[in-house]
């Protein structure tokens, strides 16, 4: 007996089999997306991102050096004591000033400044005292995660890397609050502290936990720490300007590829043939499409940031020059990208499938869907090949870090170069429409 709906299923299957784009959307996109999210949030140990922290040791005492060594031994931290070597020349170690500048520049979201005199009174019980210099934690409030991770690990390292200091400081407090120990008790305590130091030296300065992740909480804190926001301290919402750029760029790409799809409509209707039989050449035509798409994309960005200003308090009007530079460059690149996608496709349906596939993957890798701090380091490198990452970086510099227009040159250079390459490729592929 024939099931009546089987012919319908068979027809649909035949149609799907011949529609490569629909097949890709049905099977490739979900798998690609699943893989990206699994890598980011799945917690594969070899791919878990490490929190970058700048450490400036201004004390250079034995205690401060043990603290720094303890931080370096933490597997979840990437401690930076000096900027990366430039042209093979090693840079000077960070100071309080250069560390602060580096956080402002976005090198890391957190910097720890170990002040002079820290080694004399490294541990604090109770409220901060004037004679105990506090470690300064400089943070970029745009990163909601890194400062908390560093704060917790700093206290842990304080306990595990400096147990001798902990006991010594305890003895001081005991002297102060209980009337003091007898000389014999003092001698025995001092002997045990020396023994502990000997053990620590034998372990090579690693913390007692050996850098293994600790269990248990860190409570109020043993090390005196003063936190100061150096980026975004006056901003209302750290993530709003990020997402205005991130989501904006993603939708810009969708809009641009859709607008570039007019080329395919015109090719199908014969209008393209008629246009090319006039004085208009293919290069002129594509340049015209690029200019229109740029204008459209720029207007879209303006609308996005005006909305962010009106509703979420993003300081749009205070950043007009930077916005204009980044807006024009981003609009140029995404427009060229859209035209390239259109020139690669034969039909509007193909373009829609391909653009959905490429744009969603590029956006997830490039930071349009979640901040890059959540991504594994390897993926953070991969995002350098996406338009989203460079555009978001540029807008973040403008709206979050308040950097001048001159600081945008790397993003501007990359976006413009990418746009030119994409447009040249589009022109090359568009040869098929010429004759």
């Amino acid at each position: 007996m024939t099931v009546p709906f089987i012919p319908i299923v068979r027809t649909a299957l035949n149609a799907l089999r011949r529609d490569g784009a629909a097949l890709a959307l049905s099977f490739v996109l979900p798998i690609a997306f699943f893989s990206i999210f699994a890598v980011i949030f799945g917690g594969r140990k070899d791919m878990t991102p490490r929190v970058a922290v700048i450490v400036a040791d201004e004390d250079r005492s034995a205690q401060s050096q043990r603290l720094v060594a303890g931080l370096q031994a933490e597997g979840s931290l990437r401690v930076m004591l000096r900027p990366e070597a430039q042209q093979g020349v090693q840079q000077m170690e960070y100071t309080a000033a250069t560390a602060e500048a580096a956080v402002k520049a976005g090198t890391a979201s957190v910097a720890l400044i170990v002040p002079k005199g820290f080694g004399a009174n490294p541990v604090s019980f109770g409220p901060p005292r004037g004679d105990a210099p506090e470690i300064q934690m400089l943070e970029d409030t745009g990163d909601a995660i890194a400062p908390q991770v560093v704060a917790g690990l700093l206290q842990k390292v304080g306990m595990t890397a400096m147990p001798d200091a902990l006991i010594q400081q305890s003895a001081k407090f005991m002297d102060q609050f209980t009337g003091g120990l007898t000389p014999a008790q003092h001698d025995r305590l001092e002997g045990n502290i020396q023994l502990l130091r000997g053990l620590l030296a034998a372990q090579g300065g690693r913390g007692a936990s050996g850098g293994a992740s600790a269990s248990g909480g860190f409570g109020g804190g043993i090390l005196p720490v003063k936190t100061r926001a150096v980026v975004g301290e006056n901003k209302r919402n750290p993530m709003v300007s990020f997402y205005a750029a991130a989501i904006g760029v993603m939708f810009l790409m969708f809009t641009s590829s859709g607008a570039a799809g007019a080329l395919l409509d015109e090719a199908e209707s014969g209008t393209l043939d008629r246009v090319l039989s006039s004085r208009i050449t293919m290069t002129t035509l594509l340049a015209g499409k690029l200019a229109f798409n740029m204008l459209l994309a720029f207007c879209q960005l303006v609308m996005m940031f005006l909305w962010a200003w009106a509703v979420f308090g993003v300081d749009f009007f205070g950043h007009i020059p930077g916005f204009t530079v980044m807006g024009v460059c981003t609009a140029f690149t995404v427009s060229a990208f859209g035209i390239l996608l259109a020139s690669l496709c034969k039909t509007r349906a193909q373009l829609e499938s391909l653009s959905t596939l490429v744009i969603l993957i590029m956006s997830s890798i490039g930071g349009s869907m979640f901040p890059r701090v959540l991504m594994p380091e390897s993926m953070q490198k991969a995002e350098l090949f996406t338009i989203n990452a460079w555009a978001i970086d540029g807008f973040t510099k403008v709206f979050w870090r308040d950097e001048p227009v001159s600081a945008l040159w790397p993003q501007v250079a990359v976006l413009l170069a990418a746009g030119i390459v994409l447009f040249c490729l589009a022109r090359w592929f568009a040869r098929r429409w010429e004759f």
């Binding site: 014969g270 043939d273 008629r274 246009v275 006039s278 004085r279």
Partner: protein
């Protein structure tokens, strides 16, 4: 002695698409003010020839010159108007906006553009629909606008590729009037169609295309005269299922298509002989017609196939 500058001179065009030879050594000349009809069935090579003349197809060999300039050159583009078979218009723009767009693509602006748009709207009888979006026009109006868009820069040689496809009889007559107006202005015209009555009505000279070659050229009368001389055509229809028809038809020098046979006769009196012979062969004739041969007959005579095959 230098050749005279003609609106169109095509020499030895060859174009192959893989194994298919679309143009097989076509040569052609169009004189000033002349209208040439390209007649042939679908797939004969008419559109490829037109697209090669426009410069949208690069031939494998041969040459095309338009008023002495090579196809695709700026001068040739300006001298040439092309009405493609497809409705090559912007559906979301109005009639006026479409004409303005194509005018600007040809370098028109200001008063020249305004005048050209006004002329086109008048020529296509679309003045009262100038502001309407193309997607809201009737099929016939779209066809007329499609033609007007090809005339916006006032070319001296116009190529029309089956402009009446899918058009109702009333709109077709309006299109014929538009073409007659062009002829009146001395514009040279190439008109492709597979409707022989259109070619006969609109074109002074007709070239029949088949398998990428011209198989005959001349006026309609010349073509008929060449194929049939002074003979007429007798069309005889047999009762369905009659046996031995094909043998009898070929024996009498006729041509059988389905259950209908065509014979060329010098005089109408020969019909009686045909009917008598059919009856003698035991064939039942249910209809007989005597007619003057037309271009369709010529095509059938030359190729053995119907024009609309």
């Amino acid at each position: 002695m230098p050749l005279p500058v003609l609106p169109l001179r095509v020499e030895g065009l060859v174009k192959r698409f893989g194994a298919l030879t679309a143009l097989d050594g076509i040569s052609l000349e169009v004189r000033a003010g002349e209208s040439l009809g390209l007649l042939g069935p679908n797939g004969a090579g008419k559109s490829t020839l037109i697209r090669t003349i426009v410069g949208r197809v690069v031939p494998d060999s041969g040459s095309v010159s338009i008023f002495g300039d090579p196809a695709g050159s700026t001068e040739a583009r300006e001298a040439l108007g092309w009405v493609p078979q497809e409705l090559a218009l912007y559906p979301r723009l109005s009639c006026r906006e479409n004409l303005e767009a194509f005018g600007r693509y040809h370098g028109l602006g200001g008063a020249k553009l305004r005048d050209a748009v006004a002329w086109c709207l008048n020529w296509a009888a679309l003045e009262d629909r100038a502001g309407d979006l193309v997607k809201n026009l009737s099929g016939g109006m779209k066809r007329r606008l499609n033609m007007a868009a090809g005339m916006i820069h006032r070319p001296r040689l116009v190529l029309m590729d089956e402009p009446t496809v899918g058009v109702d009889p009333q709109s077709r007559n309006r299109i014929f009037e538009m073409i007659a107006a062009l002829n009146g202005e001395g514009i040279s015209l190439i008109y492709t169609t597979h409707y022989m009555e259109e070619a006969e009505r609109l074109c002074e000279r007709i070239a029949i295309v088949d398998h990428g070659r011209f198989i005959a050229q001349g006026t309609a009368d010349e073509l008929v005269q060449r194929s049939f001389e002074s003979r007429s055509q007798v069309e005889t229809r047999f009762a369905p299922g009659a046996e031995g028809v094909d043998v009898w038809v070929s024996g009498r020098g006729g041509r059988l298509t389905g259950d209908t046979a065509q014979f060329a006769v010098n005089h109408s009196l020969e019909i009686a002989g045909l009917l008598e012979s059919a009856a003698g062969a035991g064939l039942e004739v249910i209809d007989v017609r005597l007619q003057r041969p037309n271009l369709e007959s010529v095509f059938l005579q030359l190729t053995g196939r119907e024009l609309r095959d």
